[in-house]
Symmetry: C2
Subunit: 207 residues, 2 copies
DNA sequence: GCCAGCATAGACCGACCAGTCTAGCGGCGA
DNA sequence: TCGCCGCTAGACTGGTCGGTCTATGCTGGC
């Protein structure tokens, strides 16, 4: 979910401990992530990824022998790690829970508008497309959500929320944000993000 | 969103005023809806739809001259109309708002488990895949969400909610439910649906 | 300078895609 | 009985898909 804190700029930011990654690999993941999160996994052909990233096909299969699925998996993992880093950044910035949620809504709304509603949640779109299919890709999405949820819960616990409740609240926050994103993109209107955030704030407020 | 009240059985139920529709057309929409909501628009080939519905290609293009996009549009519209009918049915059954949300959660959880997490929200997956693309298909999704939201808001108003607040609450309910569905499918666990419903109930309770 | 390897480069392939087209079925009105 | 027409039927096509393969840089260690 915090996935949508990310824009292409953030993707190549220092938050990702990926400076040691081969530039071609990095470029492929970056371009593929953007395309996948805009139109999903199946709608994007390798040709488009290769053209936009100015990479020949041979390089793709050198860095990702598993082809398209492996590349998508790398994108999912990358999004997860960037999200974890974003949570850590916020948790170290002195914001309380309400402040965090408000800030998240601001960033999300700005991102949606800036990308002209083109970008969406990579995890949501790939997760939905893979559906019940039990492949490594849907497994990667599941793990990504789980990791984000746990990190979020850990922070909520540090803010004084009880253990069991923290897990539940984290899942609720992620679900509500993802849904708001779906609706906001369809309507070309950031209002759902704000509305959902209001609700989350009262939830957090009451414990 | 109430989209997910629907399973294949419900789709061919009497709730749809489509008894006058040509059986082939009906069969195509029914099968295509199920496939699309499981794996999205682009992952499903016509061959699969035709095989499962035992329909030759000529018939598809007879009933849907616009081809795959027109078929998908019909699926979206059908989902919207079934959702409206479902809302009307519930609003006439004497349930209060909390009762409605609880019932929705029950039905959704049961549906997810029964379909082994294969089925998802047609509107969400197609909306995400189409992204910012301004085609008739994404427009159909937008309109579907809008119609569902308005019908839901109308009912909330009948339950005593103020006009402006009803619209906001309706959007929030849809967003939260859609997000819960995304997370639940990925985790193969209906808990997010319950969690989100708890939050929605307190929202509705406080007005 | 030379070799070894990683990495680039893109021609090429069979499979599959959505969509077109012609042919034929079957029931109903004249 | 005949002809019409809504509908079925599926062969066929051009294009695109993901993936493979061979050839060619390019560069750091010797």
């Amino acid at each position: 979910m915090l996935a949508f804190l990310l824009d292409p700029a953030a993707l190549s930011g220092p938050a990702d401990g990926a400076s040691d990654m081969h530039p071609t690999r990095q470029r492929l993941i970056s371009v593929a992530t953007r395309l996948f999160q805009q139109r999903g996994y199946h709608a994007i052909g390798l040709a488009e990824i290769l053209a936009l990233s100015e990479t020949p096909k041979g390089s793709l299969y050198h860095h990702f022998p598993g082809g398209k699925p492996e590349l998508a998996e790398a994108c999912v993992t990358r999004i997860a790690e960037s999200s974890l880093a974003a949570i850590d950044r916020l948790s170290g910035s002195g914001l309380d829970m309400i402040g965090f949620l408000r800030r998240l809504a601001e960033v999300t709304a700005a991102w949606l508008q800036r990308t002209d509603w083109l970008d969406g949640s990579l995890l949501a779109v790939i997760g939905q497309e893979q559906g019940g299919v039990n492949g490594p890709l849907s497994e990667a999405v599941r793990i990504a959500y789980q990791r984000i949820e746990m990190r979020l819960a850990r922070w909520l616990m540090a803010e004084g929320v009880a253990v069991a409740r923290a897990r539940d609240m984290a899942a609720t926050i992620i679900a509500a944000q993802e849904g708001a994103l779906v609706l906001a993109r369809s309507r070309h209107d950031a209002a759902p993000v704000t509305l959902v955030t209001d609700m989350l704030c009262t939830m957090v407020d009451r414990g």
